[in-house]
């Protein structure tokens, strides 16, 4: 069980996870596993209609059911709790009211209307059926392009239209470049609506202690600190009396990066009732009322010269934001704008972004958040351009990559890529997949009437959020490093991992820093009572930002320990080395003192060097100077069954450059999981609402997240271009796979079917869709 600490650095080693023993034995505690005495159970009544006026709500019969404690509606809490917050602030953003329980009007199916509290969850469920709501249905609009047309039913009458915001971005002179272009390549792309579906649904348990006025909330969240601050303001408890704990969290992918109505209502109820109140989300609720992702329609064109040089890009994006804003809703598509030129030196850009309100659940951050959309757009259009120009898709990419020595590179949309070597990752991927041979085989198979395709995707993404100017509420991260009296190390981190494994990777970093055994280090996270400040885990930021905060804090403690050790040994602190649980003089290991001895001395404090305070603890708030920009190249090889439209994935090669690697085992896990979700978008997933705003894909019976049999074995490899932005040289890996794999797969399938003249298939590329495209092409070809 013990990983060997010592001269061999732990950073870079495939150390198995320290969080696993509890998880593989069923001994961990997710929210629903936490049982407090006298807990009451809360259930929500939700709108059956996508758009309706609530004429009346009759809760009398429900209240009369034995075991029911209370039933509340929006009117009961109006003015007593604040709105569901939106942290985004764009110029001209129209922000509607967003009560935690709707009042008067419902705007999407699943919107919470009333909350029932009962002594057990079965009774609470029964009570729901006894509540009578009288709705008057209103016209709905679910298609974002229709929603922004004049005359469309209005989601908020006070706004006069359904445009929540617009966001133009212009650099260089795109129109002039188009006027001079040899070729113009254009397309309409749809990044369909996705449902994150973390395997653990959300859940909240709130406990209020009237004696001291404190509120403790256990929530399945990625952002306990943000939730703490917001909840305090919303339910009017001073922030220093609110404690939010994110216990074991069963996945999130952005869907738990929020402040949700249920967190507000359950907290309010716990305060009112002075008893613990618990709500556990059902999967059907997770489908309708946990944030959705993607949902953009993109009209894109690029100007290309005969040699393949891309000189300009113009785009218009309509982003479906749903019926209300959650925490970051309007910001997500703005990231698409920022990253729309991908890893190519396109100097002239003109993009327009419209946020459309519709009668659907709000969209927000889902793994990749805005960057998969950008990557899909640019990687599809570049591949289409290659086809149109008769170039190999790899060549057009090489043609437009910046050179490694050009980094740091400011790109047209105004951000600066930290470091990169795009040629290296693409070359490596091509080599692994044996590209030339694959192309030769493709030619051969085509002779035999078989449809093999090779898809490329070279991506760059923005992560490690980020400089505070770019993140609502701040983009720093904090950490406290404490060496206890016995030499045990406690690290309190503001990040809030939920599957990423930072209890292990952070301990590796600290183990190297202090030269102590990994088992002598504990990483504490997800509890605002223990680590009062932090931002959280999202945007592939935890290691780059949170890890750095921790390294700096550890450095401060180490400096003090060196001073004390030097004092004990009468040595020079600058000469000391921390290794194998000892502190010794470099070059003369006999002159040593135990790490734990120094820790003891620091706390006994009887023999400290002059001007040294007792204790060994430091807190650091790290503010990054820039984002990081991981990149890489993925290649997929597929064969399409022309009679059924089924896709057989034969190879999937991923070469990701995420800077330095702390733990390759964990990195591979992130890459695999990311690719799986990206392939989910490409092949299986898609939220479908009917024209009345009913979600037709509201369970796992109808919404397909990939199963084991749906996926191939992935071949994952790396190039390493350290980031200069943080001392660890890391970039972030949480989202890379998701961002790259979606366009990669679409490129492969379109490539397979290109002999039929097919240039685009919308996602998800279900067998039916692919088959239909084949039929349409055949008919078009004949006619």
């Amino acid at each position: 069980m013990t990983a060997v600490a010592g001269p061999s650095r732990m950073i870079g080693a495939p150390i198995k996870r320290r969080e696993d023993p509890r998880l593989i034995q069923g001994l961990s505690h997710y929210v629903d596993d936490i049982k407090l005495v006298d807990t009451l159970h809360c259930t929500f009544l939700r709108s059956d209609y996508a758009h309706a006026e609530i004429k009346s709500i009759d809760t009398a019969a429900a209240k009369d059911l034995p075991g029911v404690v209370t039933v509340i509606t929006g009117k009961d809490i109006e003015g007593k709790v604040g709105d569901v917050p939106c942290g985004a602030d764009l110029p001209g953003l129209k922000v509607p009211d967003h009560p935690a329980l709707s009042i008067g009007r419902v705007r999407f199916v699943g919107e919470p209307i009333a909350a029932v509290v009962a002594t057990d969850s079965y009774i609470a469920r029964d009570a729901l059926d006894l509540i009578e709501v009288d709705y008057e249905e209103l016209p709905t609009v679910v298609d974002p392009e229709k929603a922004i047309e004049a005359g469309s039913p209005l989601i908020y009458e006070e706004f006069g239209d359904n445009i929540g915001f617009t966001m133009p971005l212009e650099a260089g002179d795109a129109d002039a470049a188009f006027a001079e272009a040899d070729h113009v390549v254009s397309g309409r792309f749809v990044n369909q609506r996705l449902i994150p579906n973390a395997m653990e649904p959300r859940g909240v348990l709130a406990q209020y202690l009237p004696g001291d006025g404190s509120l403790t909330v256990w929530s399945s969240t990625q952002v306990p600190h943000g939730l703490k601050t917001n909840l305090g303001l919303i339910v009017d408890i001073p922030e220093h009396l609110v404690r939010v704990i994110a216990p074991e969290v069963g996945g999130a992918f952005g869907s738990k990066l929020n402040v949700y109505p249920e967190e507000i209502v359950v907290s309010y109820l716990a305060i009112q009732l002075c008893k613990p109140v618990k709500w556990i989300e059902k999967r059907t609720e997770n489908f309708t009322t946990t944030i959705h992702g993607r949902d953009q329609i993109n009209y894109v064109e690029i100007a290309v010269k005969n040699d393949g040089t891309i000189t300009a890009l113009r785009a218009k994006t309509i982003a479906d934001i749903g019926a209300s804003y959650q925490l970051l809703t309007p910001l997500i598509p703005t990231l698409t704008n920022l990253m729309i030129v991908g890893g190519y030196k396109i100097q002239n850009v003109k993009v327009e972004l419209i946020g459309a309100l519709t009668n659907k659940m709000a969209t927000d951050a889902y793994r990749g958040a805005g960057r998969p959309e950008a990557t899909y757009i640019i990687e599809r259009i570049v591949s289409m351009a290659a086809k149109q120009l008769g170039m190999d898709p790899k060549d057009i990419r090489f043609k437009n990559f910046p050179q490694p020595e050009e980094f740091p590179l400011e790109i047209a949309t105004g951000i600066t890529f930290d470091s990169g070597n795009y040629q290296a990752s693409l070359n490596k991927a091509l080599e692994i997949v044996n590209y030339d041979e694959q192309r030769a085989q493709q030619a051969e198979l085509r002779q035999q009437g078989k449809y093999m395709g090779i898809g490329l995707c070279t991506y760059v993404e923005i992560c490690a959020f980020g400089p505070s100017a770019g993140v609502p509420g701040g983009g720093w991260e904090s950490a406290t490093v404490r060496v206890e009296r016995t030499g045990k190390v406690t690290v309190l981190s503001g990040v809030s991992p939920h599957g990423q494994g930072q209890e292990t990777s952070f301990a590796q970093i600290i183990g190297d820093e202090f030269g102590v055994d990994i088992d002598d280090i504990i990483i504490v996270h997800g509890d605002t009572g223990r680590q009062p400040q932090g931002i959280g885990t999202f945007g592939s930021r935890a290691t780059a930002v949170g890890g750095t905060a921790m390294v700096v804090a550890a450095g401060q403690v180490k400096e003090k320990m060196a001073k004390i050790a030097a004092h004990l040994m009468e040595a020079n602190p600058d000469d000391l080395v921390f290794e194998n649980g000892q502190i010794f003089v470099g070059g003369s290991p006999d002159q040593a003192v135990e790490f734990a001895t120094v820790a003891g001395e620091a706390h006994t404090a009887a023999n400290l060097p002059p001007d040294t305070d007792p204790g060994l603890e430091a807190t650091h708030f790290f503010e990054p100077s820039n984002f990081t920009f991981p990149f890489g190249a993925h290649v997929a090889v597929v064969e399409v069954d022309i009679d059924t439209g089924e896709i057989d994935i034969q190879r999937y090669v991923a070469v990701d450059d995420i800077g330095n690697i702390i733990n390759p085992l964990l990195v591979n896990g992130q890459v695999h999981g990311g690719i799986a979700q990206g392939l989910g978008q490409a092949l299986y997933e898609g939220a479908v609402y009917d024209e009345n705003g009913q979600l037709l894909t509201g369970t796992f019976m109808d919404y397909a997240i990939p199963k084991a049999t749906h996926l191939p074995r992935f071949e994952s490899d790396h190039t390493v271009t350290p980031s200069p932005v943080n001392p660890l040289g890391v970039k972030g890996v949480g989202e890379a796979g998701t961002i790259a794999s979606t366009p990669c797969m679409v490129n492969a399938v379109v490539d397979a079917l290109s002999p039929l003249g097919i240039t685009q298939i919308d996602m998800p590329m279900t067998p039916n869709r692919v088959w239909q495209a084949i039929q349409d092409a055949k008919e078009g070809g004949n006619g």
Binding site: D643, T697, K707
Partner: protein, 284 residues
């Protein structure tokens, strides 16, 4: 996630179960593997007042082979049919169909009887049971009767079973040595049910198709026999062209379903492609 309240009985004999069913009438639901019924109860799409759990009736479970046929108890699970050496040897298409259902956990609990009575258009059993010309034995207040598979499936989720009846056995004639079968299926990616499934039993003498039976599910709102294919190919040589021409009729006269997962045209196409592939595979 939470079913409504109900009264629960677990009879240990068929007669007891039939009595309970008669007493409680429409309020009661029979519970077998529970893998169609309990999910609908959890979503409160069904709220029966009485549940009659028949799984403790021992004699309704298992496979035996009296006089040239397999007798399958209605409570035999998908997994038992998938793994039974007897079934694998005598009517392998049954094992193959069972193995194509859902997932391991579902096959461990779900029963062939429950599946047939539930009559989900996307269920796997109906195609194979139809192609095998099975007989379904049912017991009711007035005694027993036998329903032919081709008469059993009537419309969406509706069979010839009367409300007070219980399906007890499925009888399948063991095909002769020159008859072989195969079941091909496209999985609906989310649910694992059949987007389309085609079961084919081909009886050949040399290169000639003596008889072919084709059952199709997933295409129409009720599983059907593709009689057009059967009559087209019967008596003909099993050439690629003949097979293809016959398979073209796999969805003739059928009103194919439309839903978010597939268009009618796609479902009809799958029926044809799978019919063609299945027959070609058996003919080779």
């Amino acid at each position: 996630m939470i079913p409504g309240s109900f009264e629960y009985f677990a009879p240990t004999s068929l007669n007891e179960a039939l009595d309970l069913l008669k007493t409680h009438g429409d309020d009661a639901k029979v519970l077998a593997g529970g893998h169609s019924l309990i999910p609908t109860m959890k979503l409160r799409l069904a709220e029966p007042a009485v549940i009659i759990d028949i799984t403790r009736i021992g004699d309704l479970r298992g496979v035996s082979e009296p006089d040239g046929k397999l007798v399958i108890g209605a409570l035999t699970t998908h997994y038992e049919l998938e793994s039974s050496a007897l079934v694998q040897q005598k009517v392998p298409i049954l094992s193959q169909t069972a193995a194509a259902i859902g997932d391991v956990q579902v096959r461990n609990k779900g029963t062939i009887g429950g599946s047939l009575v539930h009559a989900d258009p996307a269920a796997d059993w109906p195609a194979t049971i139809l192609a095998l010309d099975a007989d379904l034995k049912v017991a009711g207040p007035d005694g027993e009767r036998v329903i032919k598979a081709t008469d059993f499936f009537q419309e969406l989720y509706t069979t010839a079973l009367e409300p007070e009846e219980i399906l007890t056995e499925i009888h399948v004639s063991i095909p002769a040595a020159n008859t072989k079968g195969v079941y091909l299926k496209q999985y609906q990616a989310a649910s694992g049910f059949a987007l389309t499934g085609v079961a084919v039993l081909l009886t050949r003498s040399g290169d000639t198709c003596q008889k072919v039976a084709v059952g199709v599910n997933g295409v129409a709102d009720v599983a059907y026999r593709a009689t057009g294919v059967e009559s087209e190919l019967a008596g003909k040589t099993l050439s690629a062209e003949n097979i293809a021409a016959a398979a073209e009729k796999a969805a003739d006269g059928v009103d194919a379903m439309e839903d978010i997962h597939a268009s009618p045209a796609y479902r009809a196409n799958l029926a044809k492609v799978y019919a063609q592939r299945a027959i070609a595979q058996l003919a080779s």
